[in-house]
Amino acid sequence: MNDEDIVIHTDKLRKQFGNFVAVEDISFDVKKGEIFGFLGANGAGKTTAMRMLCGLSYPTSGIATVAGFDVSKHQEEVKKNIGYMSQKFSLYDDLKVWENIRLFGGIYGMKSAKIKTKTDEILNELGLENERNKFVGELPLGWKQKLSFSISIFHEPKVVFLDEPTGGVDPVTRRHFWELIYKAVSRGITIFVTTHYMDEAEYCNRVSIMVDGKIKALDSPSNLKQEFGASSMEQVFFRLAREAERKGD
């Protein structure tokens, strides 16, 4: 495998809060254009690991590079090359749809004219042309999440981190959401996604399953099912998560 094809690389990445080891020496690689599912029960350390990769949290030890930049030393370079959509909905409710797009485009250094044409494109793609002048706070949750995703990839990042992007969203909208993800992948964007929905895990090219801060399994969904002799990802997940000693939060 060529080095240039590796977008995320971690080696014994660790995060410790006092005596508590939230993430224990995880090592993995994510390839360009891959949909990488990052699974685990609540409290397994997924969000902590993701925050380290996004430059929101300092690793205690170990190495992680994202888009070729070390997250400990060059986090500002990392940030230019990633998109992030947090668990909590994080667009501005008191700004209109187009204003949110414009703001985040501007933050990533895009020019006004470019933002304008691209805004039309994504509103068209999302079917939100009529909502352009609505306040984001007035949109239903599913629409907000789709908008939030489109904004997180608006500046064409190399990788986008999605932290439970479809939590609380209805099945139809979830399907739409995944269609958007596939479109992004076809443009060469790498997807790093956490989820609790096992049907979504099946959509990923590869998944890792975290238990108690460690990665217990990492492979394609079909290989994992075979390895664990399970008929679905749900069964695979149950087999592994049952061993967890940590209580979920």
Binding site: R51, G55, Q75, E76, K79, L103, F104, G106, I107
Partner: protein, 367 residues
């Protein structure tokens, strides 16, 4: 990059249901209501008189006292004890006791003693009442000596009070510059800080932290709108002071602006520091309340610093509000120039550097 953030901030401020209303209400309250309410001038002091003399000269003295705005004659009492009882019942605030040889002694030796007794439970009223009454009696004794053809200038109570700069002792003139300071503290210091904490609470700050925006840009985008609003509102207040209270700064307006901008840097730095250490609005509000109380009460805004005990005076040295109030009052009332205010200038520069460095260091994009 900052252009987009500023656009966002201004939109959010003016779309907020509450903030634009406050931006109008606060200066109105401060300029039209507080100068009248935060007034320590004492009027209508209830006076009881015990006049053992009861002759023409003493009666005319009482007339003179009650014809002023300051005193209301409640009753004549026959004895000092009766008057004391009235004070205890709360019927009167002060007693004026005139001895029975008052007129005789006044004419003979122009050296008589009258007694003033004051209920000092309300200290301000007590002190000011005593001083007003003494000065009326003093005046009167001068009148008498002249009327009786005796050489003037031999007054029996030698009171000499001279009010500098605020000649009419108009309390409003004293308060308005300081009230503007208070307004600026709230608008440019604490509002942006609360704004940052609210982004933390809602979670939108994550989306900012994960972007390549540097922290200085982000903090500036929070501060600049409130600096602009602060300066605009201060200008409105200066105009209102001129039009409504006929109060024009004796010194240079540019000195006022120079120091105001410097002071805004100080308080907004302090605000950012507080916001960096607060995770919730509730926490931030509580801490700010604590600081507002101390900054205000130890600034000389209401009570003169010279009247504080030594240890308290040392504390006021580290209160930036104190320096700015001194500047505003002396430029407004004394007409001080920039060169008179060099010590205050240095003090504020030190505070500005201190708080803003602290603010930048304590702002963390990650943990």
């Amino acid at each position: 990059m900052i252009r987009f953030l500023l656009e966002k901030e201004f939109k959010q401020i003016f779309r907020n249901k509450f903030i634009p209303k406050m931006l109008i209400m606060m200066p109105l309250m401060i300029m039209f209501v507080l100068p009248w309410a935060a007034n320590q001038e004492v009027k209508d002091i209830r006076l009881g008189v015990v006049n053992y003399d009861n002759r023409e000269i003493s009666n005319r003295l009482i007339d003179k006292i009650t014809s002023s705005d300051y005193f209301i004659l409640v009753d004549d009492y026959l004895s000092a004890r009766e008057a004391n009882d009235a004070v205890e019942r709360g019927d009167i605030d002060m007693i004026l006791e005139i001895p029975n040889n008052f007129e005789k002694e006044m004419i003979r030796s122009h050296n008589v003693k009258v007694m003033i007794a004051t209920n000092s439970v309300n200290g301000t009223k007590g002190v000011l009442g005593t001083s007003y009454l003494s000065s009326i009696i003093n005046d009167y004794s001068n009148d008498i000596t002249i009327n009786h053809g005796i050489i003037a200038g031999k007054s029996n109570i030698n009171l000499s009070v001279k009010y500098l700069f605020n000649v009419l002792m108009d309390y409003k003139v004293f308060m308005i510059p300081a009230l503007i300071v208070m307004l600026l503290t709230m608008l440019s210091g604490f509002l942006p800080a609360l704004n940052i904490v609210s982004e933390k609470e809602v979670g939108t700050i994550e989306q900012i932290n994960v972007s390549p925006i540097n922290r200085l840009t982000f903090v500036l985008s929070k501060l600049i709108p409130y600096w602009v609003i602060g300066i605009v509102i201060m200008s409105v207040c200066l105009i209102v002071a001129a039009l409504v209270y006929n109060l024009l700064p004796a010194g240079n307006v540019f000195t006022i602006y120079l120091f105001s901008i410097l002071y805004i840097l100080v308080v907004s730095g302090l605000g950012i520091v507080l916001s960096n250490y607060s995770d919730t609005m509730q926490q931030a509000m509580f801490v700010m309340f604590f600081f507002v109380m101390i900054l205000m009460l130890m600034s000389g805004l209401y009570t003169p610093i010279s009247g504080m005990p030594d240890w308290a005076r040392y504390i006021t040295i580290v209160n930036p509000l104190k320096y700015y109030i001194e500047v505003m009052r002396s430029v407004y009332l004394k007409g001080s120039t920039f060169f008179d205010l060099i010590p205050q200038f240095y003090a504020l520069v030190v505070f500005a550097l201190f708080f803003n460095c602290w603010a930048v260091i304590s702002y963390k994009k990650r943990n």
